[in-house]
Each structure stands twice: as structure tokens, then as C-alpha cells.
């Protein structure tokens, strides 16, 4: 039994304590935003926030998150009410196949929480741990800068 907070709500899960957090999120809690990519902490698709900082949930046993705060893409908004970061990705059309995007968005969220006006270089450096084989890398940079404007109260 492991208790933690997930997107602001208390959760209690029964998976074995050495189960990767990613499997608990997807299999026990049916939150399928975080994706399984490599299972080795190499691709970034499984990235979620732990106490506000990005971690690879495929190599974080659920015992690690006891009494801590986990944030996933589902906490950023919904399909009908997307949060600023999700809205910016849609408006910049920064998604092609989309498999890597939830993880990328969570690491982006961590950057935008601490850096209100990130440069393109800061964004590229922050997202370096994420593999993407589609072709929207430059649009992703624009989307983060757009989201930063939204978060500061701007309109576009």
C-alpha cells in the first residue's frame, strides 16, 4: 500500500512497492497520459513531476513517492479545457504523432514554473532528455514561449 498525492488529490494504491510508478499510473489508476517508451530512463516519454521536478516514472519505484506529490499531464487540463501549455501546443500545432509529448510537456511545465521567460536555448537544453522522431522540434520551442506568455497573462 502506497499513499501519495496525484494532481492535488490523495491516492492510495496497492501495487507492489517496487512497481515502476509508470505502471501504477497507467494500470492501476488508468491515467494513460504518461507513455512507456524504453523502460530504461533513456527516452523521456514517461516523464512526470515529483514534488515539481521531472523524473522518469519508468525507473521510479512507487515506494519512492510515498507521501509526495506527483503531477501528470492529466493535471494540466482537459480536452475541453486545456491548460496554457496544452493550448499553446495545439495552437502552434507542435504535435505530430504525439507519443513523446506528455513527457515533454511535463518537463516543460517544470521549466515554466521556475523560468517565466525562457530563451530558445534554455528550452532546448531543458528538453534534451526527450527523444522525438517526428518533426516538430522548432514548433515545440515556439509552443513553450507561447505558453510562457499565457502564464504571464498574455493573450498570444
Amino acid at each position: 500500500m502506497t499513499e501519495f498525492r496525484l494532481n492535488g488529490q490523495s491516492k492510495r494504491v496497492t501495487s507492489e512497492p517496487d512497481t515502476p510508478l509508470l505502471y501504477v499510473l497507467r494500470d492501476e489508476l488508468q491515467l494513460n497520459g504518461a507513455k512507456y517508451g524504453c523502460g530504461l530512463g533513456q527516452c523521456g516519454a514517461c516523464t512526470v513531476l515529483l514534488d515539481g521536478k521531472p523524473v522518469f516514472s519508468c525507473v521510479v519505484p512507487v515506494s519512492v513517492v510515498e507521501n509526495r506529490e506527483v503531477g501528470t499531464i492529466e493535471g494540466l487540463g482537459t480536452a475541453t479545457q486545456p491548460g496554457p501549455l496544452q493550448r499553446a501546443f495545439i495552437e502552434e500545432q507542435a504535435v505530430q504523432c504525439g507519443y513523446c509529448i506528455p513527457g515533454m510537456m511535463m518537463r516543460a511545465q517544470a521549466l515554466l514554473t521556475t523560468t517565466k521567460d525562457p530563451s530558445a536555448e534554455q528550452i532546448r537544453r531543458q528538453l534534451q532528455p526527450h527523444l522525438c522522431r517526428c518533426g516538430t522540434h522548432n514548433r515545440v520551442v515556439k509552443a513553450l514561449q507561447r505558453a510562457a506568455r499565457y502564464m504571464k497573462g498574455g493573450t498570444a
Binding site: 512497492p17 517496487d18 512497481t19 515502476p20 523502460g39 530504461l40 530512463g41 533513456q42 527516452c43 515529483l50 514534488d51 521536478k53 521531472p54 523524473v55 522518469f56 519508468c58 525507473v59 521510479v60 519505484p61 512507487v62 515506494s63 519512492v64 530563451s119 536555448e121 534554455q122 537544453r125 534534451q128 532528455p129 527523444l131
Partner: protein, 150 residues
């Protein structure tokens, strides 16, 4: 010519190689179930566990020199920061766990690795090593911010 290692070192090397490649290629039993759970969930995918070979074999920790040093600073740093390729554009060879593991969890894991993979006496200064690593990271961050680096 480097010459032959002495008998004790040769025997230690043979034992480490046997443990890393033979039927016992797994950490020894432990009384620290919290740390064993951390190892199973965070490390075993690459470093191996009892009865299951890793899909992406990393160094077997029975062969790790960092685990045999007098102080655990290197092990603490590797777990916190990961192992990076000399090609800065490439993915890390091992991901870092600084954001994932609390200091208490990291200390338990480091103590477990020393016991499970070596014959060396337990480290008694793990928390100081973790504090040094944190202070180093904080000073590096301050330097980056001062220089306005991303």
C-alpha cells in the same frame, strides 16, 4: 609493463568476475527491504536482479570500483547525476535520480549497494557525501545563474 597484481587482488578480481557472470549474478540477500525495493524498481532494469538478466545490460555492480572506495562520494554522484556520454547531444548512459530519490532513500540505497555487491565494510559517512553533492550542485547552479547561462 604493469606486472601481475598480488595474490589478494587477483583472488578478489576472480571472485568479483565469478559473481558477475555466474549463477550468483545478483545482489546478495539483505535485511534492508526498503533499499532492496529501491534497487528492484530503479536499478535492476539495467544492472540485473536475481533470476532475471537485464534487457539492457549495464555494468554488473560486483565489478564497480566506485562501490569499493573508502568514501561513497562517487556512488552518490553517479546515482544523483547519472552517467553522461562524452557527446553532449546524446542520451545519458544512465539517468540521474537526483529529482526522484530523497536523501534518506539515496542513503539507504548506497548502503545496500555496498553490502550487496562488495565484501567491504559498511560506509559510515554516506549522509555527509550526499550533503557534499548537494552543496556542489547548488554552487554550480549559482555560478550558472550568475553567468546567465541557460
Amino acid at each position: 609493463m604493469a606486472g601481475q597484481p598480488n595474490a589478494a587482488r587477483s583472488q578478489a578480481a576472480s571472485q568479483a568476475l565469478a559473481r558477475a557472470s555466474g549463477a550468483n549474478a545478483a545482489p546478495r540477500g539483505t535485511t534492508n527491504t526498503v533499499a532492496a525495493t529501491l534497487y528492484a524498481g530503479a536499478c535492476a532494469q539495467c544492472h540485473g536482479e536475481a533470476g532475471r538478466a537485464p534487457s539492457n545490460p549495464a555494468l554488473h555492480l560486483a565489478l564497480s570500483s566506485s562501490l569499493r572506495l573508502p568514501v561513497p562520494d562517487n556512488v552518490v554522484r553517479i546515482i544523483r547525476d547519472g552517467v553522461h556520454s562524452p557527446d553532449l547531444g546524446a542520451e545519458p548512459l544512465m539517468p540521474g535520480f537526483a529529482n526522484a530519490l530523497s536523501d534518506t532513500q539515496l542513503a539507504a540505497l548506497v548502503a545496500h549497494l555496498r553490502t550487496a555487491f562488495t565484501e567491504q565494510p559498511a560506509w559510515n559517512d554516506i549522509s555527509q557525501s550526499i550533503r557534499r553533492a548537494r552543496e556542489h550542485d547548488a554552487s554550480m547552479l549559482r555560478a550558472r545563474q550568475k553567468a546567465s547561462l541557460p
